[in-house]
Symmetry: C2
Subunit: 496 residues, 2 copies
């Protein structure tokens, strides 16, 4: 009997058995990137974590609709203070066009996620693509008494909402503390209460992204798009909502309020939050000079790195820590993850040549079977990839011992090797999304074959068969390969 | 004195000097893909052609804003006849979600354009992302008397428009002939005239993509999005509009009418149309079984292909024909393009080792200089890549002759080699976007070295030196390489 998937629901603050609303379908919403700059490696961790969660749900047989939005409606203003009127003029091409910035960083984001071998979501909706739907939700909130208009802007009325539904449940905040904690900020005094948040903002002329609405020209508040897009594509009540821990408050808290205020349902039933990431024990920030970009981890072009690391090494490093725990990246950790990555795939590579000869289950069979089952049990325990990896390492030890002969092949059955093969394929490739280190490449083969030739040449020279020795030299030269005789009799070669 | 860029303007039916409205800025709009299926290789030709045009404009020093839309608002209906009301239910995840289809084929389209080394456009706006703007244009058209509402749909009034502006200029059609040529189609009788086209369509319940509008729930007509997005991002009058020839009528004709009817300006000043593509002299179509997908050309997995071709080979094949001419693809053409591709890069590779010793310009210098200048002159002549390639082949001949010694290095100056290097880099890499063939790969080296070994083994066998012959076999086997003796004395090898 296999274990069942349990998820730590950050809303309920407990691990719950996962029961989808409409199995085998699962709706998964993850807050995506804001495409006005390059993603942080912490974003890559979050999206890699949800990629593994998505892959595991698919592995379990669920039909997952995975929605991850693109926040492209932002608050860009024209630095020159030029308003939208400028946009009508012949000089439009000279003006900053936010969608050009959006395009650049959307492409960059996709390139990075491809590099890190994350699968694209089922739907990647944009905020600018859902302005009408956002206006409609605001209208419903006003109608339901949870929002009010002031001077062309619309705010969510937290106090009024809190009379019907508790506000602050997700993040564990009390409305009284929140009110006391807020200072009156300049220009926000038009709100009835400092904790109210914007659903629609009146656009000043220098806001270059603005749309018409029942309240005049403006743009949606940032929290709104996720409520609108998650319910549009997954339903008013859906399965899982994920995001970085930093989004819990106010973003996700506001999402829940918007959803309940509109539909009397809070959207997601399971909330999942990924934890933060440090480098050498410090928060990464531009001012500390340790804000290494995702691409820099791969190319190694940052002074704090010793070299570049394969994206799969970084993915493996992420997976070695549970998604909900803080993770510290450092050189030692990267180097260890690289060794671990190579070791796991080396063991996987050995499997094809192992033929078990035991006719009945042995003690080793029992170990293998328990460790393989453990991989699934650990993932079923709130996607515990760290513990699953520990099992895979133990299995790797068994494989290496079989390969090295310390454990003889009569200690395993054919079916044990089959189970190992399935487990390694499933977890390394399909679920963890790791890529193979370069296969023993044709360069290695070239080395091997050159060793054969060099030994033939040595034999010819030992026999004073100069004709053969010259022939070898000339033919290799014609192929662009130079043989060099070292001082100590060591022979090397170089390729043009 | 360098030549100046001229473009064949399909609207004026003549070649015109290119004078951007607002140099050094250039606005370029190209009709992008409909993302409900995989692109056709003909689409890849069109987008590759405009990629080269874009790259060349950038090469000339223009700051190009290149807008290529994604048509994602379509006319998908739910096969089960289920309407939008279904979307509110708990079973939402079971329903077809058009945006899921859109996501799949948008990702697929980007993958293919990346494979073919096309640069992403500056902005890639979507139809669903501009519903409000489309509604606004319809309102202006109604206000200006060029559109009318019937039963929740809005149509463009071609007859009324034609009284003020000529309709049909781009495609060379007369409104009288068009009216006579149309049959009354079912369900379109609500239009005042058969040639009127839809700006907004009332959604029937089975239309699963629909938005609210002043005319009720519906969706925009297909021609509208390009008028809206080109003018939003490039201005009411802009430089170049491109697309496949099949879009000239009705799509581009309708675009011009919408633009003039709204702004009294027709949008693009230069219209460019790419021509169609055949395979073995036949139009490609599913019914003929010759509709080879772009990826299949690369992988070679289609019965009509002899093997896969590198995307750069296919790009080169495209470039060998002027974009405005019909192009026939066939195996011979692909094979020739592959040879041409290798030859050009081989010559380019020789340049680094050539050192001219002439102190003053020679006859060869004169030839090189004229041919290099010709590359630019040909591109300036309506982007004539075919003629530019012919020049590059002639230059390739000169380079090979210098490399082979048929032309001595005292016939060229250092500056001639520099000019050749710049020209090959600019045209092959930057402008034509071709990728280098794999450098003489280690696989080729392995083949070369194996030939040396095989000949040593033959020598040993001829000498009845079985010890050496066996040593070779065993050592290669240990390296995972098997030698096979064929019936005709031919020796081959295989790598594990």
């Amino acid at each position: 009997m296999s274990s069942e998937l349990h998820i730590y629901n950050t809303h309920k603050r407990e691990k719950e058995k996962f029961e989808p609303l409409n199995a085998p379908h699962v709706g998964l919403y993850v807050c995506g990137p804001t495409v006005y700059s390059e993603p942080h490696i912490g974003n890559v961790r979050t999206f890699s974590s949800f990629d593994v969660i998505y892959r595991y749900l698919v592995h379990l047989g669920y039909k997952v609709r995975y929605v991850r939005n693109i926040t492209d409606a932002g608050h860009l203003t024209n630095a020159a203070g030029e308003g939208v009127n400028r946009m009508e003029s012949a000089a439009k091409l000279e003006s900053l066009e936010p969608m050009e910035v959006v395009q650049k960083y959307t492409t960059n984001f996709h390139d990075i996620m491809n590099l890190f071998n994350a699968k694209p979501p089922s739907i990647e909706p944009t905020a600018t693509g859902h302005i009408i739907e956002q206006i409609e939700m605001i209208e419903k909130l006003i109608e339901n008494g949870f929002a009010y208009e002031v001077e062309g802007s619309v705010y969510f009325d937290v106090t009024s909402y809190n009379k019907k539904y508790p506000y602050g449940e997700l993040s564990g905040r009390k409305i009284e503390d929140l009110v006391a904690g807020y200072r009156d900020l300049d220009g926000q005094d038009e709100k009835r209460n400092t904790i109210d948040f914007a659903l629609w903002k009146k656009a000043s002329p220098e806001h270059i992204m603005q749309w018409r609405s029942p309240w005049g020209m403006g743009f949606p508040g940032w929290h709104l798009e996720c409520s609108v897009m998650s319910t549009k594509y997954l339903g008013q009540s859906f399965d899982i909502h994920g995001g970085g821990m930093d989004l819990k408050f106010p973003h996700h808290e506001c999402e829940i309020a918007q959803n309940k205020g509109t539909y009397n349902e809070g959207g997601a039933r399971y909330w999942m939050h990924t934890n933060m990431l440090n480098f050498n024990g410090q928060k990464m920030s531009k001012s500390l000079g340790n804000a290494i970009l995702p691409m820099e981890f791969v190319t190694g072009t940052h002074e704090l790195l010793d070299k570049g690391y394969h994206p799969s090494v970084i993915r493996l490093l992420f997976l070695q820590t549970h998604y909900s725990s803080e993770l510290d990246i450092n050189i030692k950790g990267l180097q260890d993850a690289e060794k671990a990555w190579k070791k796991l795939f080396e063991s996987k590579g050995h499997l094809a040549s192992l033929v078990g000869s035991a006719k009945t289950p042995t003690e080793t069979s029992g170990k293998i079977s328990a460790l393989c089952k453990g991989c699934t049990d650990n993932m079923n325990d709130d996607f515990n990839s760290a513990k699953t990896l520990a099992n895979l390492f133990e299995l790797s030890g068994i494989i290496n011992s079989l390969k090295g002969g310390q454990t003889t092949l009569d200690q395993v059955q054919v079916s044990d090797i089959e189970l190992l093969t399935t487990t390694f394929n499933n977890f390394l490739l399909d679920i963890f999304g790791l890529q193979e280190p370069q296969q023993a490449s044709s360069n290695d083969k070239l080395d091997d074959v050159m060793n054969v030739i060099i030994s033939l040449r040595k034999q010819a020279r030992d026999n004073k068969d100069w004709a053969t020795s010259d022939k070898i030299r000339d033919e290799l030269q014609a192929a662009g390969i130079q043989i060099k005789d070292g001082k100590d009799g060591e022979v090397s070669f170089s390729v043009d």
